[in-house]
Symmetry: C2
Subunit: 368 residues, 2 copies
Amino acid sequence: MTRRNGSKEISELPPEDRKQRPTIVDIARRAGVAPMTVSRVVNDSGYVSREMREKVERAVKELNYHPNGLARSLKRQRTHVIGILLPDIANPFSAQLVSGIQETLVERGYSSFISVSERSTAREHAALRAMFDHRADGLIVATRETKSGNDFLLRLTEQGLPMVVVGRTLNHPRVDRVTADHWRGGYEAVEHLISLGHKRIGFIGVSPINGAGLRRYQGYLDALRENNLPIDEKLIVGPAAQSGPGYSTQDDGYAGMKKLLALKKPPTAVFARNDFTAIGAMCAIRDAGLRIPEDAAMVGFDNVPLAAYTTPPLTTVDQPTREQGREAARLLLERIEGDKTRERREICLDCHLVIRQSTTNKNDNKTV
Amino acid sequence: MTRRNGSKEISELPPEDRKQRPTIVDIARRAGVAPMTVSRVVNDSGYVSREMREKVERAVKELNYHPNGLARSLKRQRTHVIGILLPDIANPFSAQLVSGIQETLVERGYSSFISVSERSTAREHAALRAMFDHRADGLIVATRETKSGNDFLLRLTEQGLPMVVVGRTLNHPRVDRVTADHWRGGYEAVEHLISLGHKRIGFIGVSPINGAGLRRYQGYLDALRENNLPIDEKLIVGPAAQSGPGYSTQDDGYAGMKKLLALKKPPTAVFARNDFTAIGAMCAIRDAGLRIPEDAAMVGFDNVPLAAYTTPPLTTVDQPTREQGREAARLLLERIEGDKTRERREICLDCHLVIRQSTTNKNDNKTV
DNA sequence: AAATCGTATGGTAGCGTTATCACACCGGGC
DNA sequence: GCCCGGTGTGATAACGCTACCATACGATTT
């Protein structure tokens, strides 16, 4: 009983009851071996005789020993923890991304801890700082780009923290990148509308701040251009400029669509930045007493599970989110366990259009 | 240059370039003081002269020093990290809960790391184990109850890990609990339907496994009983029994409603276990060519942001999720920083019914 | 018979912090 | 002149673990 002091508390409990978590020394004593031998058994490394191994394993079980991850990580200079930074959580995209990441990580013996920035740069900083200080072995970052966020990420990279970004950019030679081809997804969505005869096609959800970086929006612009349709800025509406990183919700969709419907010549079809925005917009159309798709067709982006259950079911662009997660984790582990300084790598996966009744009701109008 | 060996790599880089993160010793050397003094400056503890403090602060800034959280936590026996265990992530409930938790935590100087069980007990175990091994100071658990999950949680509690459960139970004298009054929420939802004249009211989303534990469902049963309406088991349909913990999605809602509509006497109103289930059910009603609420009224639970944007907007029960998060964090910190062995405490917050057009279209039929 | 090798175990030293004690200085009160 | 309390600084020893080296023994090999 050389452990701890705080003398008063000790006397209140019988010494054996003090639920101190056992350490490797406790196990060693109990099994009558050296701590080093316990370590070898627990980590299954080096030579241990059957006899010793059994003694140790018995002691481990009896005291319910689990190694202290802090001490182990400190010594090994490896935590086997990957930090995942998400913009927000209420979101099928986040869920599938995490699911894909974890799929790869668990089979390689890593755990992952998630943090959420909630569109606040202060929170983003705090989360990154916490991950860095607790020495995560690497980071997967899926937050939206901001100036100060980027600076911070670059600083961490410079300090040697391996990093992969998903669905965004970060310009650094040692930061890998995984995305889906949002440009093409947007392009095909708009081509689909054009092929249905639409000529006035709106876009909801782009804010002046980050329109340049939004590739699905660039796809929209390019599809119009290449089909010789005019780009009418009145048909492009975004969420009210806000302090945080760009984002767009059902509220923005509703408000945006109202603006479009108030125009002298409203669009006959609308491409929304994401499915939630599209859902909000569809509400506005319905509230205006108009029909979808006859009076206004709608396309979303992301193919969230709910998109099959809107009224009418939503045409949208599917991106392989889970696979992006898997690839991101793979790249990160490659860098962590292999060459930390190898040149950046980029992986771009394909999107594809899912046609439902919000653009055409030629199919019979059933959900499933 | 006493640091590290791996001799070959060293010679390839000029020694100054080795991006080793600086330690407290590096700072001490640079500032010409003892490590202890650096520690005092960094932690703002004990006596330090202005002169020393400035020297140290300069060195800290120049080398961009940040203390190693592992070492610090190991020494202090405190990580200042709280683990949050969520059932899944694609979910406004999770988002608001986390948001509330973090609100409280950041102002008290803690960080939080999230893990997701994704309805797999194996994942749940792994996540808990990782949190425990990395010595999180406490846990907030919002996963669904399962036998093996409960056992595991109880073991961790017995080992002295402070814990609060949210929206579920865990029977242990040292585990606090935060919930909303789902029973009353369910009760009021059903009373609302009864007051509109409904007599055949269905329930979607309960599986035989955990119906007993689902308090909103008990509220449904009790409301029927106390209004002398018969409980008809044919009107109660759940997701197909499955291995994992109970859950219910739009898919279950759609399938469940189809079953109900196929009955000889289908219900005139349905209470769904959650909003997503309700949304799926509404699709099934529409696909059957029926009107909401005239042919079938619908009530959900949770008041997710999307509920205001369904067709028609969904009557549902709102629970104060963010506040549950705040309370959970408060209780946990109280236990961590105060009396670790104090008796369990329970906090139950009120729900309230939000009436929209899926039960009555007397209001004018606008979304906002 | 000596050198070599695979197997088995333990000792020691640190990973990067900080609690604790030790010491040293200064001014003031007796 | 001595003691005291407040102030300032550093040395030392952990926290719990594992990399590394040292040792030891039996079985080959030369």
